[in-house]
Symmetry: none
Subunit: 253 residues, 2 copies
């Protein structure tokens, strides 16, 4: 087995379950001699691919991996990165999914993955939707700088369906709830027959710049399935955030 391959094996031993590992544990995990393992770790330590915890002598991934991920994310086009994640979300939920990017005044659909079912929600690339009345808009506002919500709450909020909420106080309540949950739900406010769940894409400063959502016909969704969709869309948002070089702030709430 080649030396570089061994170093890769050590890197692959780190996981969400085991992000920090001591020398002896790592040696047992990768099945290399302890001295061998130490030398592999030391080489990567010198280049910042891993680092040591303070205090303590545990090893964990280092700042160089973030630099590498950022370079990669800037290399690949947006769609190359996001489409597979969006496709996965569609396959897991069985419903149509899309990513909307925010501008000053609205959100635009920039990427979609459609359900294979005959009856499904359709997204049109470039379609413009408002911040209010949409799950994507509300979750964007929930994680954007506060000044954005202030500005939007002051603006017009025309009724779209007879369920649309148009008062600034209602919007603020929705935004507050979305911020607490980490996702937003919209039931019939934009499309009378649709129910959507959305989660935010965060930039390198931890603020929202876009959102990813799952949209379903209302009659197909019960509270249990809705909760499942929420879970999946939050995970997809997190994956998209990281894959696109953003900062997944570690909220403990």
């Amino acid at each position: 087995m080649g030396t570089v391959s061994k170093a890769m094996t050590v890197l692959e031993a780190f996981s969400p379950e085991q992000p920090e590992i001591g020398l002896s544990d790592m040696a047992r995990l990768v099945k290399f001699d302890k001295a061998t393992t130490l030398r592999l770790l030391s080489s990567m330590l010198a280049h910042g691919l891993i680092e040591k915890t303070e205090p303590g002598k545990l090893y964990r991934l280092g700042p160089a991996v973030q630099r590498l991920a950022r370079i990669r994310s800037e290399t690949l086009s947006f769609a190359e990165i996001a489409q597979p994640i969006l496709d996965r979300l569609r396959d897991e939920t069985g419903e149509s999914c899309h990513i909307s990017e925010a501008s000053q005044t609205s959100l635009a659909t920039v990427l979609a993955a459609h359900s294979a079912k005959a009856l499904r929600i359709n997204f049109t690339m470039g379609e413009i939707v408002p911040f209010h009345c949409t799950a994507s808009g509300v979750i964007y506002l929930a994680f954007a700088p506060a000044s954005v919500l202030d500005r939007v709450a002051k603006g017009p909020a025309p009724r779209v369906t007879n369920r649309s909420k148009t008062k600034a106080s209602e919007l603020r309540e929705q935004v507050s709830q979305a911020r607490e949950r980490g996702f937003a739900i919209n039931n019939g406010e934009f499309d009378a027959e649709a129910i959507s769940v959305a989660a935010p894409l965060l930039d390198a400063n931890g603020f929202a710049y876009a959102s990813v959502s799952v949209a379903s016909p209302q009659w197909r969704i019960d509270p249990k399935l809705l909760a499942r969709h929420a879970q999946l869309v939050v995970r997809a948002a997190r994956d998209l955030t990281v894959a696109l070089g953003g900062k997944n702030v570690g909220r403990k709430a």
Copy 2:
């Protein structure tokens, strides 16, 4: 020069300006023989750290760097945020500080900042302590949903030191007092020689999920200094609550 170090050098050659590089260009960049460079690239290719463009024969960073970055991101977020605040509390008090997170049955130490003094309280990461008999536990119960205190009060409360309070009525009195003050004090109930002050970390719903405390040797603390510690630990708890996305409800301090 070690082989792993050479592989790292190859990785470091990728940049935003040069995200995709051919074999000969890479060999010139890193100043290694072409055959050497190819082997280094091939090893990393096999592990997904780099990939080849399609079509074409350029090398670029691969999907594995994203996985590594995500693991690091999830590891550091909590500690990245909380450690500086905890370090400040330690520096202000000169004593050891720690954050404990609650589970159903106990608290576990998740982060610590140790005093520089030779005689100091030591915390072990992952150490489990009970809700009763500890300042961290009592303050957690004071700000957790009422059902949590009800459940804990019904359970066993074994004596730890000869100062431990084990009656449910005593626990309720301590919790009530802690709720009014905004902090809890524990003097010799868990460790016969230690005195601790703790304040709660609140989640987005305003309930406690963890606590931060300062622990000192008894002989170093008089009432005036204890009041000072209480003040500082309450401030640290507030800062941690806000920084970690919780809700600092205006409870009586």
